[in-house]
């Protein structure tokens, strides 16, 4: 037996749609460990739901294999798989009470009614929704229905819980609370969660590992920090958080994982190469997070080693609450955004728009990506 709860081996899923063919999942390989909180992150239509449905057994892969707890799932229908789903729109049975909804799965296992009732009650307490057992789903709020859907799936004690944008329909405040609660719940029960979301912030704050998907492909799989700080592709860097992309030409690859990139204004900077960088020379993109850029007065003292320092002009600044965004221009064509936190004792405007400044960043906080 492997230590993996779910393994997807070279999964492809094609749909026929109106004469054409849509590839919803494109050669996906991933292994998800027991007890992991695993997020599938990507824009709408990238194949997240389809991936989940392939694991649940509602769709069959066009090619490739799904293993759950080391067992091949080929030919095993959804009702025999040790996984449960929290559906995007909850899919609670409208003709049954909340309690009957939760008991449904247990009764299908042959658990007797008394026992099922007892476990349904416990399950409602687990999701902090006691006392609504006799109500019908439509008598509950969206947030409450969401908890019932969770209880209905958890009561089955599945090996893996699949959640398809479970908080998508909730308002922002409730969503934030539920994020914390769901994470705590997952830690308590120790069940593997595969959590679909298009919200990068949600994925970063909740998941142990994130898989970023686009157009059916799993572009990168890694911990939140790795995904944020070491994006492997332009898409990943762009989808997660705000990023500056600077065009340049790779002139040299060093042995230490860094390289030299010539920018449009002919300055040559040292920057860290992405692990997946294919180019050995030619056009590349340098990605720099706005919060990693600092601004100093023009002609400030020379930068220390491992830091890039370039003259720039402050073009604009925007106050956005926690931060201020500064729009900077290097030479004629390179535009950068820098973000500085608004710490309360800092003078309101250190730099005036139009002023010449020096921008700096650590070479290690850059990533060179294929163009």
């Amino acid at each position: 037996m492997t230590a993996f709860d779910v393994e997807l081996i070279d999964i492809v899923k094609d749909f026929d749609s109106g004469g054409g063919r849509v590839r919803a999942v494109d050669h996906v390989n991933v292994q998800i460990a027991d007890g992991e909180f695993f997020a599938l992150l990507g824009p709408s239509g990238c194949g997240k739901t389809t991936t989940l449905r392939l694991i649940a057994g509602f769709e069959q892969p066009s090619s490739g294999r799904v293993l759950i707890r080391g067992r091949a799932m080929e030919g095993i229908p959804a009702y025999h798989r040790p996984v449960n789903t929290v559906f995007q729109d909850y899919a609670l049975f409208p003709h049954l009470t909340v309690e009957q909804n939760i008991m449904f799965g247990l009764q299908m296992e042959g658990v007797d009614k008394k026992e099922a009732q007892k476990r349904a009650l416990e399950s409602l307490e687990q999701v902090r929704l006691p006392g609504v057992g006799r109500r019908r789903p439509h008598q509950l709020s969206g947030g409450q229905q969401q908890r019932v859907a969770l209880a209905r799936a958890l009561v089955k004690q599945p090996a893996v819980l699949l959640l398809d944008e479970p908080l998508g329909a909730l308002d922002l405040k409730l969503r934030k609370n539920m994020q914390v609660e769901l994470k705590a719940l997952q830690r308590d029960v120790g069940i593997t969660f595969i959590y679909v979301t298009h919200d990068q912030e949600e994925a970063i704050t909740m998941a142990d590992r994130i898989a970023v998907m686009n157009q059916g492909e799993m572009l990168q799989v890694g911990g939140p920090k790795e995904i944020y700080e070491r994006p492997g592709t332009h898409f990943v860097a762009d989808f997660i958080g705000e990023t500056n992309f600077v065009d340049g030409t790779l002139v040299e690859r060093d042995a230490d994982g860094f390289g030299r990139v010539k920018l449009m204004n002919d300055a040559v900077i040292r920057a860290q190469l992405s692990h997946t960088l294919a180019a050995s020379d030619g056009p590349v993109l340098v990605a720099i997070r706005p919060e990693r850029i600092t601004i100093s007065p023009a002609n400030a003292e020379p930068a220390e080693r491992g830091t890039t320092s370039l003259p720039a002009k402050l073009v604009d600044s925007q106050y956005i609450g926690t931060d201020t965004r500064y729009i900077l221009r290097i030479g004629e064509t390179i535009e950068l955004v820098a973000r500085l936190q608004n710490l309360d004792d800092r003078p309101k405007a250190i730099f005036a728009v139009g002023q010449a400044v020096t921008v700096r960043w650590s070479d290690a906080s850059t990533t060179v990506l294929d163009h």
Partner: protein, 297 residues
Amino acid sequence: MAQALINEGALGRNRRVKRLGRLCLWLNPLVAYFFLWAPILVLVLFSFNQSKSVASFTGFTLKWYSNILNNVVGAESAFSTELMLNAFRNSLFVGAIATAIATVLGTMIALSMARGSFPGKRLLDGLLFLPVVIPEITQAISLAIFFKVAFDWIHLLSGERVFPGFHTIIMAHVTFNISYVAIVVRARLADMDPTLEEAASDLGANPWQTFWRVTFPLILPGVIAGALLAFTLSLDDFVITFFTSGVGTTTLPVFVYGLLKLTVTPEVNAISTIMMLLSTFLIGISLALQGRGASRS
């Protein structure tokens, strides 16, 4: 400024056109419903008329209603309460069996249309509406010919002679009722969220359990509505029944038609009024059930 900003004349004209339009909108259903209901109102009215003639209303009476229940229909000997009740029993018998069969088959067709995928599904879907659109007389004649051909073949192959009777009427009623049931149940299924069935499967229910514990309870109002509609159509049907009936299978509408051939008596009005009330009641329940489905999901 030579030109007025607002053209008062045009504005007034506009307002008048609008008012006229609103009046027409309001009158339109009144007129339409008048044409729909006037003949029926006349029928109901004259079922309470003192005089035997429909020339004028001479006073209110329940005489004709009591006559049909007490075996007295003036001088006409063709009528007897027993014959009428017998015809009514025949109607109920045909209606019940045809409805039961049509409901099961129609529901099955609706399910395979909504959930299945097979070649020719769209064509079949369209054909479902055929009995609704083709003239009843065409259907009646085609059924009569079909039964004749079928019975000839049976005679040829087995030497057995088969005659039309309840079985032919019931089969004929089933053929047109299937469509109505399927259409009503299908509408209900279209309203139902298909992820509910996936949720059941996800929770460990096999297809059989999923059907009986989730799908069926949710479409049940549609099934009942379809069955009530079928039963009503069956009770009311004259043309198809007339062409497919045999000896001793007179249903109530056929019986009423038989009375009319002899003479127009006010008793016919009374029977017709009762039949109409019964049908309206059943259709009312059917519509209420269909409406409830729509508003809940």
